[in-house]
Symmetry: C2
Subunit: 567 residues, 2 copies
């Protein structure tokens, strides 16, 4: 049996391959050693996207890693589950890693841990308690891994010495999940400050007294480098206060004639806590729907952050009148199998939407989810329930500060060098422009890419980006494997999705060179074969240039795999 490609087809396939260059690898085998009086900072993720945050801080023989997040994938990378920061730089230096420091428990800050922790030599993880519980909860799904070495950091901790030269200090910030922090790394030349995800609680653009007090801690410090979340730099002004939106939601909860269904992100843990309090205030029993919501509420319970005695299992829902029920659910992003979607399309096991239900969509649209959310709303509006969205009232605010808040932050923290983080390039650039407008010298600002090697050299007096970069190609999680994904595989998947596959199997008599019988054809995702018998029978007669034939007939070019069997 020979397995050969006819000449014409081979050259066509070769051409297709060579037309699309593989991703250009950045040079990284020539990274110079770190100078004795220099601090190296490398954002390995989170500065060309929103997600997979990770930043390396290196001084002399010590490395501290800030955050270890994942990014979710989309139809641009079909079949991929998650995208991780590229940790090659760290793997090559893992004996120097002293700690992974976590700013808060969201997946874009902790999600990589189970995939990379063993590759980094299982360093200790420093985190506040809520983050610790989320990390441990997740780790349960990876039983083959060694136990994590988690160091829980208290709320009022002073600086923690991690090495003779480096201390880390956590400072609380307002975000959307309990125990959110910024991190300050104290070096001999000054502090490296990373705010983590941050917003400023405020009333109509005036920061709360508590926020003002809190940020006074920076007044007299020697801050060498400031790194700030850039997610919402595009939005002018201050974000709505959480207090304000909770007041709006409270009005719906108090007046809902039947069940109140509150849909939000499971990650909005602080809001969920307030919902649970609100239910108690109005004597409503609470039902928690959605896997991630249940996980987070279990942690809320465990930490006793709110009285949860009125949370009931969904099976007990019908024991109470509808106006004594609050359902807190995920799925406001239109996720196909999430609880709210199942309610909307009548496939939920326990909940059928009724006219007397009030549904509050307390969330914003994550880019990429627009169509799914439209579909969800179409389904919901077919049910005749009352639906409350941002059009009716302000029922959501982001956990990330808008431009006004960022401006205020810059004014509270005196710093020498600035590096915007946590967003894609154009947002970082906008944030850099803001810093310049606020008085930072242009040469003291660096807009990084993933893998950029940035150094504060000569005892804190020089701020440079090296010409070489650390490896930054996507590391992906796909099924059971972790690694870089070949462009070829992704390209093939996209082609398969567009045009399908068409396999011709030909049995050739090796002596005569003639076909032993009519070719067999197998196709998937191409055309509906049962309705295309004529096409198939013609195709069987044309095997010399099957690809050209298919294109002429359909203007589509499925991957053609000729299998010429000589027997």
């Amino acid at each position: 049996m020979n397995n050969t490609f006819p000449k014409g087809l081979r050259s066509k396939n070769m051409r297709r391959r060579s037309n699309t260059p593989l991703a250009v690898k950045k040079p990284h085998d020539t990274i110079p050693p770190l100078g004795d009086d220099a601090i190296r900072i490398i954002p390995l993720g989170g500065v060309e996207e929103i997600g997979r945050n990770m930043m390396v801080v290196e001084y002399k023989e010590d490395i501290i890693v800030l955050d270890a997040g994942i990014k979710f994938t989309d139809h641009e990378t079909p079949g991929v589950d998650y995208i991780l920061p590229n940790i090659k730089y760290l793997e090559d230096r893992k004996e120097r890693i002293r700690a992974i420091v976590i700013t808060h428990g969201h997946l874009d800050h902790i999600g990589s841990i189970p995939y990379i922790i063993d590759r980094l030599g299982n360093p200790p993880i420093y985190t506040r308690e809520f983050g610790a519980l989320l990390i441990q909860k997740r780790q349960v799904e990876f039983p083959h891994l060694a136990p994590l070495n988690i160091k829980i950091v208290g709320a009022d901790d002073k600086s923690i010495p991690l090495t003779p030269n480096l201390k880390v200090r956590f400072f609380g910030v307002t975000h959307s999940i309990p125990d959110s922090t910024g991190v300050m790394i104290e070096t001999p030349y000054g502090d490296i400050v990373n705010t983590g995800d941050v917003r400023i609680e405020n009333e109509n653009g005036v920061p709360d007294e508590k926020e003002i007090e809190h940020y006074k801690m920076f007044k007299d410090r020697n801050i060498l480098l400031l790194c700030v979340d850039s997610t919402n730099i595009q939005q002018p002004g201050f974000s709505l206060s959480e207090t304000y939106i909770l007041k709006n939601i409270d009005a719906y909860v108090s007046s809902a004639p039947g069940r109140i269904i509150l849909a939000t992100f499971a990650t909005q843990v602080e809001r969920v806590i307030e919902f649970i309090k609100m239910a108690q205030h109005y004597s409503r029993k609470v039902i928690i729907e959605g896997r991630s919501m249940k996980t987070n509420v279990e942690i809320i319970k465990h930490l006793n952050l709110v009285d949860t005695s009125h949370i009931i299992p969904i099976e007990d829902m019908t024991k109470y009148p509808p106006n004594k029920i609050m359902i807190i659910t995920t799925g406001a992003q239109g996720e196909e199998f999430a609880a709210l979607m199942r309610m909307s399309n009548k496939t939920h096991k326990f909940i059928r939407l009724e006219r007397s239900d009030t549904i509050v969509l307390s969330s914003s649209t994550i880019p990429g989810n627009e169509k799914a959310i439209e579909k969800l709303k179409d389904n919901l509006y077919r049910q005749d329930s009352r639906i409350i969205t941002h059009i009716d009232s302000d029922v959501h605010t982001s956990g990330h500060g808008k431009r006004g808040e960022l401006e205020w932050l810059h004014q509270q923290i005196p710093y020498k060098y600035f590096m915007p983080i946590h967003a894609n390039h154009f947002r970082l650039k906008m944030h850099a422009e803001l810093a310049e407008k606020l008085g930072c010298l242009r040469e003291n600002i660096i807009v990084p890419d993933n893998g950029s090697i940035i150094e504060i050299q000569e005892k804190g007096t020089k701020f440079v980006k090296l010409a070489v970069e650390a490896p930054s190609e996507d590391m992906v999680v796909e099924g059971l494997s972790i690694g870089d994904i070949s462009d070829v595989v992704i390209r093939d998947r996209k082609m398969l999705a567009e045009d399908g596959i068409f396999v011709v199997i030909v049995l050739v008599d090796t002596r005569s060179g003639r076909l032993r019988k009519s070719p067999d054809i197998i196709a998937r995702g191409f055309v509906y074969l049962r309705e295309s018998q004529e096409l198939l029978s013609e195709a069987r007669h044309i095997i010399e240039d099957i690809s050209r034939f298919l294109f002429q007939r359909t203007a589509k070019t499925p991957i053609v795999i000729p299998v010429i069997l000589g027997a």
Copy 2:
């Protein structure tokens, strides 16, 4: 040679198939004949989506079709080019079709014509001149079709009698392309009014005098049914006036130190005309970039809508100083190969972006394009040109009226029955709620689906939706074929995109039943084979349950096509 499926695999494939039900077909073979004193209205597209608008109006033996649009596809239907309204109802009654009436020349109103016109028996097409030119321009790409029978309708035409019982009257509306109209079909029982796409030119929410004057024509009419564009019902208030946003753009054009690059939708023809005037005012030469933009500018030239003597070919650009150049381009949606994207990633043949360039993104984000636009902006911000977006200044307004404008429209047009159109379900429902709030009786409002058969019965006194529906399954254009697409094919394509394909070819000795040699394996889009030799050599030894094996090793389930060859 036998081509059989091993038992285990067959049953698995069968299970997968039967788990996902095929789209439920709505009943339509029992559509009752139309009563003598009834008018039938069927929206065949555009009421469960934004796009592919088409509405049937039928009375006695006559059918008039309003608009014939297409909808663009997305990653939910890989491989599909366009989606058309289902025209089965019309094909079955094509001898009664008296006219296709076009409200304006955008593709969501004219795009279906070349795909369906012959199936409908080539009825005459009534349209204003700009639409006619766009229709004809497009028809050139379909040389096999019979010439179109286009009837150009003047601006001030009175009612045009199409049949003894039905007249059609065009009325100008403000949208974003010249010759935009609404359509009034005069029946013995009153008028059916379809506004087409419409906005109201206004200043800070006060409609222009011209608009107020124009809509007075409806004051004394007997309007039976009103159908209004619902695209922007979610947006409160009035849209920004085009005059205002042009003034803002003018400020950038007048002060740009180098080239000014204006990126907008080619469909914003009226804005493009104003850009060309603006260039003349500031003595800038104009370069048109992007295929659809060039097409529309050719029609602008042909109709002499503006002096185009200062439009120059791009090859002549360097003959003028940069501050004497205006580039009008498509691509603000981040389309992969559009001119602006090519400028942003340095692959444009003639244009390299420079620091002195000013780029105005005069467009909004079409849902689904968010990621592509983010990518475009990332690329643009790497070029150091000045970029103006809606954050800097109001540089775009929509061609579709917001809630305030719709409210005003309802107040200008006295009507009996109301049917919201041109959007997906939840927007139609919101529009219905608005109509009710403004005084329309609930029972006089019908929110339709594609294929809903709505009748005004008993000489205009009864407004009902029939229980039966016209066929409304998607009709798709894919390569050279037009028709319904099998769910199986789409499902296979999505599976191929996620997990790839894995083909095992086994040559079996039919006498001994043993393999003649080790199986051959062909895979695409699965894993990168060159780096997975071990996986392959193991796989060769396990052909009994290859599917289970692959899942265990990769947690992925590629389509497995076993080809057992008996020789």
